[in-house]
Amino acid sequence: MGRVIVAASLGQVAGGGAASVHSEVEVSPSMPPAGTAAAVRRRIPGEEGIWVFVLVDMTVFALFFATFMYSRGHNHQAFATDHASLSVVLGTVNTLLLLTSSLVVAIAVQHVLSGRHRHVPMLFGAALACGLGFIAVKALEWSHLLMAGKSLVGSEYFSYYFVFTGVHLLHVVLGVAVLSGLIVLSRRPTLSGRQIMICEAGGIFWHMVDLLWVVLFALFYLIR
C-alpha cells in the first residue's frame, strides 16, 4: 500500500572521513519487490545533536505561542486594534521567501546525499538570497512601525511582536551564517561523510527557522 521508501547509506568508514553515498528511490507498488528486506532503512537525518537543539528551540517557541494566545484572550480588543497596523502583504512576502528558501535547501541536501553536489553551492546561494530578502523586508517593516510610533513598550501586542520576531530574526541571521558556511563547504570537489552530515544538519536548522516563522506569521499577521 502506498510507496516504499528506500534510503540506504553506503560506505561508512571510521574516523569521520567516510565517502558516504546515499541513494533515495521511491518505489511504486507496481515495481518488483527487490530488496524489500533492506527497504525502509530508517536513519536520523543529520545527527542527534541537531535534533536536540531543534526540538528544544521549538519547545521554547511553543511557550511563546501559548503565552501570546493567552494574552490575546485577555486583551482581545486591544490585540485586534494593534493587529490592524501590521502589513499582511509584507508578512506573506516573508513567508514565501522562507518557504522557497526551504525548498531550495531541501533540493540541495538531496543532491548532496546522492553525491551530485555540483550545483549545490548555487542552490545554497539562492536560499541565502531569500534569507537576506527576509531580513530586508523585516527591516523595512520594523522601520515603518517604529516611525508610526509602535515600539517594544506601550503596547502588549507590539511587545510580543518585537520580542518574538526579533528572536526569530536572530535565528534567520544565524541561518544565513550557516548557509554561507555550507556554500564554502559544498564547493569542495568531494565531500566526506562528516561534511555531508554537516550539510544535512545545516539544512535542518534552516527548515526550523522556516517552520517557526510559519506559526509566527499565523499568530501575528493572520488571526485577529
Binding site: R3, I5, A7, E24, E26, V40, R41, R42, R43, I44, P45, W51, L55, M58, T59, A62, F65, A66, M69, Y70, G73, H74, H76, A80, V88, T92, T95, L96, L99, T100, S102, L103, V105, A106, I107, V109, Q110, E200, G203, I204, H207, M208, D210, L211, V214, V215, F217, A218, L219, Y221, L222, I223, R224
Partner: protein, 88 residues
C-alpha cells in the same frame, strides 16, 4: 516520483495553504474570530508538519523521532485551540 519532484510538490502545497490562510485571515468576519483563529492555527501547524516530514526528511527518521515531532505539532495545536476557546 523523484525526491526533487516530491518536495517541489510539497512546496506548491505549502504555497496554496499560505494563500488559503491569507484569505481566511483577510475575510474573517466579526464574531467568527475564534473559529478563524483555530482554522489559521490548524493550517499553520499542518504546514509545519509538511516541512518536518518532507523537507527535514523525518519520513525516513526512526519512528520515535517522527513521533516526537508529530506529537509536538498536535500538542501545540491542542494547546492553542484550548487557550483560544477558554480564555476570554
Amino acid at each position: 516520483m523523484t525526491a526533487t519532484r516530491r518536495i517541489t510538490t510539497v512546496w506548491l502545497g505549502l504555497l496554496a495553504l499560505t494563500f488559503a490562510s491569507f484569505l481566511v485571515g483577510v475575510e474573517q468576519g466579526a464574531g467568527l474570530e475564534s473559529v478563524a483563529a483555530i482554522v489559521i492555527v490548524g493550517v499553520a501547524l499542518f504546514k509545519v508538519r509538511l516541512i518536518g516530514v518532507h523537507f527535514m526528511d523525518l519520513r525516513v527518521a526512526p519512528r520515535a523521532l517522527r513521533l516526537i515531532f508529530e506529537g509536538y505539532v498536535l500538542a501545540v495545536f491542542i494547546a492553542l485551540t484550548v487557550i483560544d476557546l477558554t480564555i476570554s
